[in-house]
Every structure is written in C-alpha cells, then in structure tokens.
Amino acid sequence: MDKEERHIFSVMVENRFGVLARVAGLFSGRGFNIDSLNVAETHDKSVSQITLVTHGDAQIIDQIYQHLNRLIDVIEVTDISTGTHVERELLLLKICTDDAQKRAEILQVAEVFRGRVIDTKPASLVVEITGDQGKLEAAIEIFNTYGILELARTGKIAMPRGNAK
C-alpha cells in the first residue's frame, strides 16, 4: 500500500443550506478522514470556501477529490498541498496567571511565538497566535506547563503561493 500523506483541499461551494452536511456526510459515509475543517463565506456572497485537511494514500486522496467534485453544490476542488502554498491556523489560549511572577514569563513566551495578548484579567490572559500546525503545537505544549484554562483553534486555511489565479 502507498504511503499516507496529508492533503489540504480547498473546496468552493454554493453558499446554500445543507452543503456542509453533504461534504461531511461524504467523508463519514465513505470512511475518509477529516483532520480539520474550516468554512467561511468568500468575497462573493454566493460562494463559501471549505478548507479541509485530510490524509490517506494516493488512491484515497484521488477518491476524495473525485467524490467532492461529484457533489452537485461543489463548484471547484483544489488540492492545495500539491503545490507550494502557505497555510495558517489561529489559536486562542486562556492561560492561568495567578502567580504574578509567572505572568512575566508567560508574556515572554508569547513574544517568542509572536503572540498577541488580546484580553487580560488579574488571574488570566488570552493570547492569540497564528502559524502552521507545528508552531501551534509547540506553543500549546509550552503554555500547558503554565496551565491552559481554555483553548480554541480555527483549523487550517491555506492558499497557493505566487500569482496563479
């Protein structure tokens, strides 16, 4: 069997009721994996973009591509990971700061990850970090040693590099 690979699909869909359920249902019904999923409107209000991270061998990835295309509401499917691209994810962390000394340390660590403090309370603060998966996971690991109270992540969005399109 072929090697499993991670792929990022950008799926442009009609901005209609029920489309996400069709996409998600396709994955569960056919036993494909979804590692992360992000949905948002685009500059054209009639079109939504789904960014979907999945993994599988070459045959599975081809099947995913074909089956996404087969959905009537899907306008275009692009496998972004086949070319050079940028990918980003946004992470929000609420960190416990009841120990005043730690607070300074935490701010320093946030700095290292180019994080921004977007809310601060006597006993906690909220840090916003963007980056690729590796960076966010490293941040989570370190902040966990200070005590993460809450965490929210967007899932990946991605875009091909250069001026294609």
Partner: protein, 558 residues
C-alpha cells in the same frame, strides 16, 4: 397568472414530459394530489405502498430511459421511499422523488409526521432540494430533472413544505438549466481514446467488458459496432444484459459470481480488458488480487470517481459511453487474435450453463428455458435471488432495456412494482415478471393496482419454498443450518392471486410448465400469476465463492 405551488409543480412536471406519477397520498402531500386529480395528461397511479411506488417509477425509467416520478407524503410516506431511492441510486436510474413536508413553521419541531427527509436520503441520492417557498418550484423542478437525467444519472429528491404547495405565486418556466457547479464531461479526451485504440491494436488476448452504463447511455448500437468491427469477445454484466445480443458467437455471457466459466476464464487469461460503463463490482471481480492479473485496463465511464476505485486502470477515459465509443470505433479494426478467439470458443463450448433433471421435479432452469422459448421478445423484470441468476443465465437477451433487475442494491420486492412501471412505459411489449417466493411476498400488495389497471403482466413465481439464495450459502458455507429461510408456511400463491382478482395457476409437474405458459399468453385483460413449485434445494452454478478468484469458479457439486 398566479398558481399554487402544487399546481406549478404539476405544470412543470408536464413540461418535463412526465406521463405517469406513482404515489400514495397523505396529509403533507394532499395539495399536490389534489392538483393531479382528474388531470388527463399526467396520470396519477395510486400504488399500495410507497416502496412499490418508488420501484414502479424506477421500472418505468429503466424500461423507457425517461425520468420516473414518485410522490409520497411526509414522515412515514417518505421513509417508505428510502429503499426505492437507494435501489435507483445504486443502479444510476433517473428518478425524481417528491415528498410533502410539514408546514415551514413546524420544520424542526418534531411535528406530526415530520421527518428530515433530506437528511435521511443524503447518502442515497444524487441531489436533493427542500422547497419552502412556492416561487422556487419551477426552477427546482427544472434542475432536478436535469440533474437526474444527465451525467451519471440518479435519483433526485424534492421535499416540499405544505405551505409552499398551497401558497400562490407568479412563476416562469426555466427554459434552460445552467449550473456552474455541475457540468458532466460527456466527450472523451481524444488522446486517451487514441491510446486505447493503440492498446486494442497491440493486444493478443483482449476482451470487452460492458456494463449497465452502456444501457443507460443508450450506447448499445455503438457497443455492437465496436464488437463487430474488432471481433473481440465480449462479456456483458448483469446490469448490462441485452446491450449486446447474447445469441451472438462473440458473446461470452455474464461474468462474475454466477457468470459463465468462459467469461471468468477470459478475464483471468486476458492481456487487455476494455471496460465500458462497468464498475469492477466485487460480484464481478471476485478476489481483486487474482482479477485479470495479466491485463492492461481501459476504463470508459461517465463518473471519474468510478475509475480506479477498485482496480488500477492504465487508460482512463471519462465520458459518455456513446460519445466515446463513437470516436473509438473510428480508430479500430479487426483484431488479429485468432488463437485467443479459438480459446474462447473452446471454453464456451465446453462450459455452457447446464443443469440436470432431478426426479420428476419441476427444475427452475427448465422453467427459465421454457419462459425464454415462449417469451423471447418480452421485457423481463427479475427479483433478487437464485431465480434472478437463473433468469440471467438461461434467458438470452438481445436488446437493451429488455432485462430489468436490482443489481446494485439487490432489493427483494423490486420486481412486481417495477414490472408495473415497465408495462405502463411500454404498453406494446409483453412484460414478464420472474419472481421468488420470498421476494414476491415483500411487495405482493402491488398486485392490486396491476389488476385495477388490467395490466397483462405475466408473473412467474419460481417457488422453491425457501429464501433460496441464502439457503444455498447455508448449505455450502454454514453446514446446512437453515436459519430463517424456510418459507413452506407461505400461502398458496395461485389461490391468493385469485382472491386478489387475478388469474392464478399452480404448476407442480414438468409436463404442465409449457401449457401453463401458453395459457398465460392468451390472458391479456389483467395479470396472470403462475406459481411454479420447483425443486426445493437446487443450487445456482457456476459459482465463484466470495473472496475467491474468478479462476477458482466451481462448476457444480460433484
């Protein structure tokens, strides 16, 4: 002029050329049934169960190539359609299923007879629509018919809230449908077609492998031209039977689990397989590791997701079979493969479908041969089980749409209602329904509309008093532990037919088979049911046991 959503729906269906709509009435669909009342152009066919209605619409579609239409109410009416929708989906049958839905304001409140039909049917339909406003009706109907009948065909669901049926609005017919997200590729890539032609030229042991897609694409003529021109042996699957005449010397009959040894050996020995509208189904390929191990594969299919799904393909060609074959036919010539042709003929001669008489029992295969002798031009609608396989083996189909069966989902109960749809769609044809005792009783209630409409259906029950196909597996693989397959407690189907108001005959002796078939021929004012009491424990052979390779086909029990 302002029309109600229901009336708009009916008008739009007529514009789509719909002649019949099969249905069962109920609260949330009443405005639509009311709009159909007394309509002389669009005839409402009341069936006895929504499953039956869906199979009738399906049978109509299979026999005519047109879109079949079924109508049901919300909740239980809609859920009763599910089997029929899934059946049509698996075989890519163009169908539009219309369901009433509760009032818009009640959707999501667990209202009486509410069911999320769109949710329930999502994985078993090509597409679906929920209509909440009557203004949407005309566009949705046009899109639904377009989607159901183009590309890889399939069922489309229109769920329409009751208030959208009642509310009046102005509407405009959609003259054309243009969906930016839906553009099926119908023309094959010419470079790929040229590559295919080159492979065909080189091959020493090529075979053609055609499936239901050829029938659906109305490409039977082009398939015949390819075969006649190249003189390459051909096997046609269960779903494609009739696309190529089984009476022709190049025909190897169907492949797969209960297919001919010739076709299965041919796959195993081939150096090239040209698949046309066939999908390398597991019932055809057997163990994939042993499937056509020496063959390059060309795969022509309208659905790109179907290519390379089960078997790696050397030359994929996405396109409509008719268009692709037309182009391919221009590039091919008679193949120089005499030794291979001789080998095929030898297999064919040596391993025909065969059976032996047991005592003085009515043998099911004998009944099939007799049916073929007397009804060779008929449309044959089979149910699911041993009788289906015997029909496929012993009836030599020569025309596309002559053989209708639920090959993909394998839905017991499909055939009687589907035969009703086929007969309505093809009033000048004789329609023979080959049924099993288990399958027949699953949708037996549809005998009522057949009688009411005086449809001259020939309903032939191959009654082995068992769920025979399952019993065969139990005999071969479960130590003869006949769990839940004994149907000796079924009623007398001849008497039951009479009680319904049809002609019912019972045949228990071989010498009575032919007279009964002849008698049935003369009855044309309604259905005739013949209950053939056949040998109970007869098995279907050849057989490729599940998980085995095609070369391991068992020809019979010694």
């Amino acid at each position: 002029m302002e029309l109600s959503g229901a009336q708009t729906l009916v008008d739009c269906l007529k514009r789509e050329g719909v002649e019949y709509i099969f249905g069962v009435n109920g609260g949330a669909a009443m405005p639509i049934f009311d709009a159909l009342y007394g309509d002389s152009e669009l005839e409402l066919i009341p069936m006895r169960h929504e499953q039956g209605a869906s199979h009738a619409a399906d049978g109509y579609a299979r026999a005519t190539g047109k879109v079949g239409v079924v109508l049901a109410t919300s909740g239980p009416g809609a859920t009763n359609l599910v089997t029929g929708i899934a059946t049509a989906y698996m075989d890519s049958i163009p169908m539009v299923a219309i369901t009433g839905q509760v009032m818009t304001q009640f959707i999501g409140s667990d209202a009486f007879q509410e069911c999320d039909v769109i949710g329930v049917t999502r994985p078993i339909c090509k597409h679906s629509y929920l209509i909440k406003h009557s203004e949407e009706v005309a566009d949705v109907v046009a899109e639904a018919f377009h989607i159901a009948s183009t590309g890889k065909q399939g069922p489309v669901i229109i769920d329409i809230a009751k208030d959208a049926q009642i509310h009046k609005s102005l509407f405009q017919y959609s003259e054309t449908v243009d969906l930016r997200s839906y553009k099926p590729q119908v023309d094959g890539d010419s470079t790929q077609i040229a590559k295919a032609a080159a492979l065909i030229k080189e091959a020493k042991c090529p075979i053609l492998y055609a499936g239901g897609g050829v029938v659906l694409a109305n490409a039977s003529e082009e398939l015949r031209e390819l075969t006649y021109k190249t003189q390459i042996p051909i096997t046609v699957t269960l779903m494609g039977l009739g696309a190529f005449p089984e009476t022709h010397p190049l025909a190897m009959e169907m492949p797969g689990m209960h297919g001919s040894c010739c076709a299965n050996y041919a796959f195993t020995g081939a150096d090239l397989v040209v698949a046309i509208g066939a999908r390398f189904d597991d019932r055809v390929t057997g163990d994939l590791d042993k499937f056509a191990p020496n063959a390059k594969k060309i795969h022509i299919d309208i659905d790109p997701s179907c290519i390379g799904k089960n078997v790696p393909v050397d030359v994929p060609i996405v396109g409509d079979a008719k268009n692709v074959l037309r182009e391919l036919n221009k590039l091919v010539d008679t193949a120089d493969i005499d030794p291979w042709r001789n080998q095929i003929q030898e297999w064919k001669q040596k391993y025909p479908f065969e059976w032996t008489q047991k005592g003085n029992k009515v043998m099911p295969q004998y009944v099939m041969e007799q049916i073929y002798d007397h009804y060779s031009d008929a449309i044959v609608v089979a149910d699911v089980g041993q009788h289906q396989m015997w029909a496929a083996q012993y009836f030599k189909f020569t025309e596309p749409r002559q053989w209708l069966n639920s090959g993909g989902l394998g839905t017991m109960g499909f055939s009687l209602p589907a035969a009703i749809g086929a007969q309505l769609g093809c009033p000048d044809k004789t329609v023979v329904n080959i049924n099993g005792d288990g399958s027949y009783i699953m949708t037996i209630q549809e005998l009522v509309p057949a009688i009411t409409m005086k449809l001259p259906l020939k309903i032939f029950i191959i009654n082995n008093m068992y769920l025979g196909m399952v019993r065969q597996w139990q005999e071969l693989f479960f130590d003869k532990r006949y769990s839940a397959v004994d149907y000796h407690d079924n009623p007398d189907f001849a008497l039951l037919a009479q009680a319904f108001g049809a002609t019912g005959l019972r045949v228990e002796h071989p010498e009575d088979v032919e007279p009964a078939l002849l008698k049935a021929k003369g009855i044309d004012d309604g259905p005739v049911v013949i209950d053939f009491i056949v040998a109970e424990e007869e098995n279907v052979f050849p057989m490729v046991p599940a998980g085995k390779g095609l070369g391991d086909v068992i020809r019979g029990l010694s």
